[in-house]
Symmetry: C2
Subunit: 336 residues, 2 copies
């Protein structure tokens, strides 16, 4: 089978690509070819795999070529992040809305020309939820909570969910939208996502650097490890349509955790000295965005697909530490 | 003040234009100029009013010119109807989604150039609601029911609702989306809307013609008269942002009525002979679409704006008969 991952050089995308290549099969079929499309080139290990083809450049410009390329399945992860979309409204519309529409239309044209509908998993986000004055957000956002997004990023993700449901209803694709929780701990440097600090307050102290937490330790948030997130995307791809149930997006499993608990977990795993590198310094812009995000999420439909959240945040930190085996400088704050 | 009505030559749009011209003011300001944009030319009475300017042609092509025109307020009613959108997927995307996006971006550019945000009322639809296997539709759809549209028309209306909420959040417009119930009794001929028969089973018998009802008499549906619908759009325009509450779309008031009750009302108002002109002949395509529509709707937020549904369907029929004063042939079935 031939697969496409958009955003396949990104953090979750590259991890998904590695997981698929390591499995070698998806939904019972052998993976012969994996096209990694991204604005940036994928890492060397991916490029070295004979099954991997790369497409580097803006996805919107690539959709014309994708019209002529058959794929059995697509994981559509490419996206501008929340902070970028708040700062540059047109960038968000172009990267998240116009690009998804162009991708869906490329797949629709193939179906209308006689091909079987391409299976597509879309990475939506818990950021579709937010409080509207007319519709208070529930304490726990569920699969069937009314999304009233309070960011352009969340708005665009919701629109893509709804478009994908309609393209699926029409038989143009076999689409499934899965809402990712905030994926943590991300390696590398902070990015423009407002959620970037959820990784930074763990990653920087482990690397021996100071980290600033821009929100109160009482802020609660639904998070997931990269591995569980990738497992979720694959399970959603492999689910039968009947098991997915309906066409509405589902929530991937979340560990609902407070910032203070994240730091307690950091201390438990890495010690007091590491934790002490985190300093609280409120950033009104970030705190304002995060205040409009859900504090807790549930994932009943994902549970019926066998997906479970991590049991505790210590496990998420240990996963990150294990992932850093090849980059010891990322752990130099541990003093090992 | 200067107003724009898109779809202003249509059934609801023309009635809204007449109501605004008759009032002469909106939200306490004198209406100096009313631009009626539509694919078709407006009727002679509208063209004869010195305050009316017409723009005839596809709205998408007009949006470039609209960028340079200042408006204090916009009623955005232009839309392809449900049957058309099911039959021609690209037409629906272009007419309902791309056009709204171009209109919103034209208004945004004006705001970004320093103008005050234009107030915009968008006519969404009860068709945003539908049953999804994962999310059963409640017996009564409320303002805060999760929309899971089961038609492309409903999908596009929902996407526009969500876009308008985000453009409003960003301060680019002052947007309010109001979900119209099925407006009945429409004059003229049947159209491609799957809901067309809700008017046809009243209108045709009154004109002395046979009518076919494509669904069971037990089908229940939320309807509204044209006058209450126009009243609703105006009230939503005039509401303060605080009174509108939040940015999520609201339901306009509905009379929840069964097809059998509609025909009982027809008999009560117009007699047995008129009612007997309705024949039941199931149309699977229409019945299939209607089966995925809500049976009953509530409108708590509209009620707080002082908006109420009709008390009974007889009043809706009497309103239609009164509207036909100038076109006696529309009532020749009454035998008066």
């Amino acid at each position: 089978m031939r697969l496409l991952i958009t955003g396949g050089a990104g953090f979750v995308g590259a991890r998904l690509a590695r997981a698929l290549l390591a499995r070698g099969t998806l939904a019972g079929q052998r993976i012969d070819s994996l096209v990694v499309a991204d604005q940036a080139a994928p890492s060397a290990d991916l490029c070295a795999d004979a099954r991997v083809e790369t497409r580097v450049g803006p996805l919107l410009a690539q959709c014309e070529a994708l019209r002529r390329e058959p794929f059995d399945g697509v994981f559509h992860l490419a996206s501008a992040v929340s902070g970028e979309c708040e700062a540059d409204f047109e960038l968000g519309l172009r990267s998240n809305l116009d690009t998804t529409r162009a991708l869906l239309d490329a797949l629709r044209e193939r179906t209308q020309a006689g091909a079987a509908p391409t299976r597509l998993v879309f990475s939506s986000s818990v950021a579709v939820f937010g409080p509207d004055a007319a519709v208070p957000m529930p304490a726990v956002v569920a699969d069937d909570t009314l999304p009233t997004p309070q960011t352009s990023y969340g708005t665009q993700k919701l629109i893509c969910e709804v478009l994908i449901a309609d393209y699926t209803r029409k038989g143009y694709i076999d689409g499934r939208a899965a809402r990712l929780m905030t994926v943590t701990v991300r390696p590398g440097r902070p990015n423009a996502a407002a959620s970037s600090f959820f990784s930074g307050i763990i990653r920087e102290p482990l690397a021996g650097e100071e980290a600033i937490c821009p929100v109160s330790p009482d802020v609660s948030h639904p998070v997931s490890s990269p591995q569980r997130t990738v497992d979720g995307l694959i399970a959603v791809y492999e689910a039968s349509r009947e098991a997915f149930v309906g066409r509405t997006a589902l929530n991937l499993p979340a560990l609902n955790v407070r910032v203070g608990e994240m730091l307690d977990a950091l201390e438990a795993v890495a010690g007091k000295a590491v934790r002490s590198r985190v300093r609280f310094e409120r950033d009104e812009r970030i705190a304002g965005i995060v205040a409009r995000w859900p504090q807790r999420a549930s994932a009943a439909r994902a549970a019926r697909l066998g997906l479970q959240p991590e049991k505790n945040f210590e496990d998420i930190i240990r996963q990150y530490i294990a992932d850093c085996a090849a980059t010891p400088q990322a752990l130099k704050g541990l003093g090992r």
